[in-house]
């Protein structure tokens, strides 16, 4: 009876729990033709029997539905579709019979094979599990073949599987559903062979539709924000305005007087989490109204009180001293002593919020010694451990139901489990006050924007030396910024000799052949602004600085920026490949069409590798006389190995470009006296449709192992745009966001 089910709109759409929470099941295919359940009835009768479950990744019922279990979160990047494509390909399933659901927390079954824990991140979903999912599908297929051979008493090699139907040469045929029970009794093959890529039907098919494209266009997709359990209360929180402040006193009388408010709880913070007060109510509006009626006095004695201008001033001082050396080739000092041409530049990038459309939230149902989490879950294993530690129970008493996330861009994978622990702390406080019900914590947009865990602000100082021929002979680059990894469980693996590899990624590993190269890092230890990975992590700023600097060198050398890069990538064929592909398709060798009278047009190029995926972009901009400008068109080339879902790759390039452009044009979180100055979309300004360029994407045909596409589209766009602006106007933008720097 441990089922959650959903009756769709025509049957009074409703979420119901009957006797606990074990499975998250989406409305749709499975239940479409199976009648109605009124609220209050048990859900078990609606669930088609599962006759065949050969491994942790696929279930097939007598209703002929193939359910693929995705160990990775679907947050928009297309992972559900990608993993299902791989499995269905080897299973020879019909795409229309395939549905996908998120995996529960189970590290033994669902660990990320590149990380050893269950986690979605680092653009690794396809990279770590492509073979695993294909093998899971091939094993299931083999069991259908042996089941059919047994049932029909024919040799296994006379059996084929086409679009979910098992055929024998004799002409007999049966669906997966018809054979499921017998297939479930076959031995699971220990070794399976995989298809020759030449016979792929789903992998590489450009017209294959996403698995979530219907539910996400008719309002039926269920996010954490939408999930309901019987008796559940909604918690809206009050956070302090400064990081590190705690509650001194709270007067909740007015909050408690709001109709439908049930309880008010205080929750303690930690070095990594907010302290605050939560108002629990029967609906979100009442909870919010109650929250707004709280009178809280905060103790700010330990709070962080610096502003971003002061932080940047400190970084500039730090850059004057030696940093830790992340990479050292040749002798930079000697090469910089007698340059024919010297480029000296300082770059600044701001803090950035992830600002997913679905503000952070998490549903918690406590029991006696148990905790059930319902969440757009990005980091099952660490969250499970953190929740268990907070409650003093064992991790296996913490279950997680993984729903769709309405975006994340990294934020839902918080190494401190900040928002998940906050939700659990609220539910626990309510429980201790006698309110023993499921609690869904929802942050408002303001909490989400001011909630910390930003992409770090950073300062870069660089000196590049050119010789008489314009050849780049030295690159000395010093990065100053907070570490996102220090103080987390990832520190032992990702901080080497004091250097957080994410702080220097994208430059310390650059592929340009520069004989004298020195990359330094300085990391402050007094800045208590919570920071975290943000789509493409260190590449988001190091890619910008590196691709701006190389452009500055090309301009100083009087060389074509494309040819200049190309000449330095002789040992990097895949980077060079995307660079050439983008230049061809952007018709780089031909002059850019001029704009209207008074308009200046320019074209910029950038190429960057991140997460083993190679992306090059050309941006075309038009700058008007008043300094306003528009990015008109972006041409993009990507090499991500085998293209599993070409249309999703295109979508991720389009989206990665838009996300990066949003930050490049407008994105900045700033602090004044420790107080975040942005609260909602009028201050933390997102890209809108009128600012979105046309985008053309070209995928390099490849048989290399597949790599990720969720993040790599983002790093090249900011430098491509500033390089285009420099080409159009001669003005070099070295500080993001670009905002009104051209009209100022």
């Amino acid at each position: 009876m441990n089922q959650i089910f959903l009756v769709n709109e025509s049957r009074r759409r409703f979420l119901q729990g009957a006797g606990g929470l074990a499975l998250g099941i989406y409305v749709g295919d499975v239940f479409a033709d199976q009648g109605t359940a009124a609220p209050g009835n048990g859900g078990a009768a609606l669930v088609a029997p599962v006759n065949f479950e050969p491994n942790a990744f696929v279930r097939i019922g007598s209703d002929n539905t193939v359910t693929v279990i995705s160990k990775h979160l679907e947050m928009g990047q297309g992972t559900f579709t990608g993993l299902a494509t791989l499995l269905a390909e080897e299973l020879d399933a019909d795409w229309t019979q395939v549905r996908v659901e998120g995996a529960p927390a189970d590290v033994a079954k669902y660990k990320n094979l590149m990380m050893g824990i269950q986690l979605t991140g680092g653009s690794t979903a396809m990279a770590n599990s492509h073979e695993q999912m294909r093998k899971a599908g091939a094993a299931a297929r083999a069991m259908f073949v042996s089941a059919a051979a047994e049932q029909w008493k024919v040799p296994a090699d006379s059996i084929t599987v086409i679009n979910g139907v098992v055929h024998a040469k004799s002409g007999r045929k049966a669906s997966f559903g018809q054979l499921a029970e017998r297939a479930g009794k076959q031995p699971v093959p220990q070794d399976v062979s995989l298809k020759d890529p030449k016979s792929f039907k789903l992998i590489g098919k450009p017209t294959l539709h996403r698995k979530d494209h219907v539910d996400k266009t008719n309002g039926m997709a269920i996010f954490t924000q939408d999930y309901k359990l019987p008796g559940m209360l909604v918690a809206v929180v009050a956070h302090p305005q400064r990081f590190g402040a705690v509650v001194k006193s709270v007067d909740a009388a007015k909050a408690r007087a709001v109709p439908d408010v049930v309880e008010v709880v205080q929750f303690g913070g930690s070095a990594h989490r907010f302290a605050g007060v939560a108002v629990l109510a029967k609906n979100t509006w009442a909870a919010r109204s109650g929250r707004d009626a709280l009178v809280i006095e905060w103790d700010e004695s330990q709070a962080f009180k610096l502003g971003s201008a002061e932080i940047m001033a400190q970084y500039k001082e730090m850059a004057k001293k030696d940093g830790l050396v992340a990479r050292k080739d040749g002798d930079v000092a000697a090469a910089l002593a007698r340059p024919a041409k010297l480029i000296e530049a300082e770059y600044e990038v701001p803090y950035l919020a992830h600002s997913a459309m679905e503000p952070l939230n998490c549903l918690v149902k406590l029991g006696d010694g148990t905790c059930e989490i319902v969440n757009g879950e990005q980091m099952h294993t660490p969250d499970q451990g953190a929740v268990a530690a907070l409650l003093g129970i064992s991790p296996d008493q913490v279950s997680i139901t993984q729903l769709y996330a309405g975006g994340s861009f990294g934020r839902r994978a918080n190494p401190q489990a900040d928002y998940v622990l906050e939700a659990v702390a609220i539910a626990k406080a309510a429980w201790d006050q006698g309110v023993k019900v499921p609690v869904k914590m929802v942050w408002t947009r303001e909490e989400d924007t001011r909630g910390g865990y930003y992409r770090p602000m950073s300062f870069h100082t660089a000196r590049l030396a050119l010789d008489d021929s314009g050849q780049l002979v030295a690159w000395h680059h010093h990065i100053v910024g907070q570490s996102i990894i220090r103080g987390t469980a990832f520190e032992p693996f990702m901080v080497k000799n004091g250097i957080d590899e994410t702080s220097v990624e994208g430059v310390a590993d650059m592929s340009y052949e520069v004989p004298n190269l020195r990359i330094e890092l300085s990391t402050p230890d007094n800045i208590n602004v919570p920071v975290q990975w943000w789509r493409s992590v260190g590449h988001s700023y190091n890619g910008f600085v590196k691709e701006s600097l190389i452009d500055e060198a090309a301009v100083a050398a009087g060389k074509d920026p494309y040819e200049y890069r190309r000449a330095l990538l002789g040992k990097s064929p895949r980077l060079k490949g995307v660079l050439e592909l983008v230049a061809d398709n952007a018709q780089w060798s031909k002059p850019l069409k001029p704009g209207a009278d008074g308009d200046k047009r320019g074209r910029g190029i950038a190429v960057h590798e991140s997460f083993n995926t190679y992306v090059a972009q050309v941006a075309e901009v038009t700058v008007k006389a008043d300094g306003s400008f528009k990015v008109d068109r972006v041409v993009c080339a990507v090499d991500c190995g085998l293209a599993i879902n070409p249309d999703i790759i295109v979508a991720q390039m389009q989206g990665g470009i838009g996300f990066g452009l949003s930050a490049a044009l407008h994105g900045a979180i700033t602090l004044d006296g420790g107080v975040v100055q942005q609260s909602n979309f009028h201050q933390y300004i997102p890209l809108r449709i009128n600012e979105m360029p046309a985008v053309e994407v070209f995928i390099v045909p490849s048989t290399e192992k597949p790599t990720g596409v969720g993040e790599p589209g983002t790093p090249p766009i900011a430098p491509a745009v500033v390089n285009a602006i420099a080409a159009a106007t001669g003005k070099r933008i070295r500080k993001l966001p670009i905002a009104d720097q051209l009209s100022a």
């Binding site: 494209h213 539910d215 266009t217 309002g219 459309m357 947009r445 979309f681 449709i689 009128n690």
Partner: protein, 153 residues
């Protein structure tokens, strides 16, 4: 007592009349397809139709919807234009995370109801109130053109 007509069905509500329609739809009527994104009419995720006009339900009190016809994403497909928009959205696989898309579809449907052949500038004007952090804008634009074409066919 406030009388509401949501997707053709009557509802009576005697709670806080200042509650935004968004929260009535989501928390009381269990129509969770309409989303909360900002609470300040800045992102459009909460867009529904009030007597056919697109409104931001996060800043519209329930009282302001009394006696009017409310249409949400759950029922917009019953309308010819809404159905065409949803079909084009699916044909072009517009969605990524999907959280903003109910609002995008409601805004796009309202646009096409008043303008059967919108230009790119018309689309910019009608859709720039709807934020998509996944930046699916290229496909939103293409899907609106596609729906316009299918409606004129």
């Amino acid at each position: 007592m406030i009388q509401l007509t949501i997707n053709g069905k009557s509802h009576s509500y005697d709670g806080d009349a200042s509650m935004p329609l968004l929260w009535y739809l989501r928390d009381v009527a269990d129509l969770t397809g309409t989303k909360y994104g900002c609470g300040m009419a800045l992102c459009g995720a909460c867009t529904v139709h009030l007597d056919g006009q697109p409104i931001r339900s996060c800043v519209t009190p329930v009282a302001a919807a009394a006696g009017k016809k409310i249409t949400t994403i759950e029922a917009v497909g019953a309308d010819k234009v809404g159905h065409a928009v949803q079909t084009s959205w699916q044909k072009l696989d517009v969605v990524q995370c999907g959280y903003c898309q109910s609002g995008q579809i409601m805004s796009a449907t309202a646009l096409l109801k008043s303008n059967r052949k919108p230009s790119d500038a018309d689309i910019d004007a009608a859709m720039s109130g709807n934020v998509c952090r996944c930046a699916t804008y290229v496909r939103i634009r293409a899907a609106i053109h596609d729906a316009a074409q299918s409606l004129s066919a």
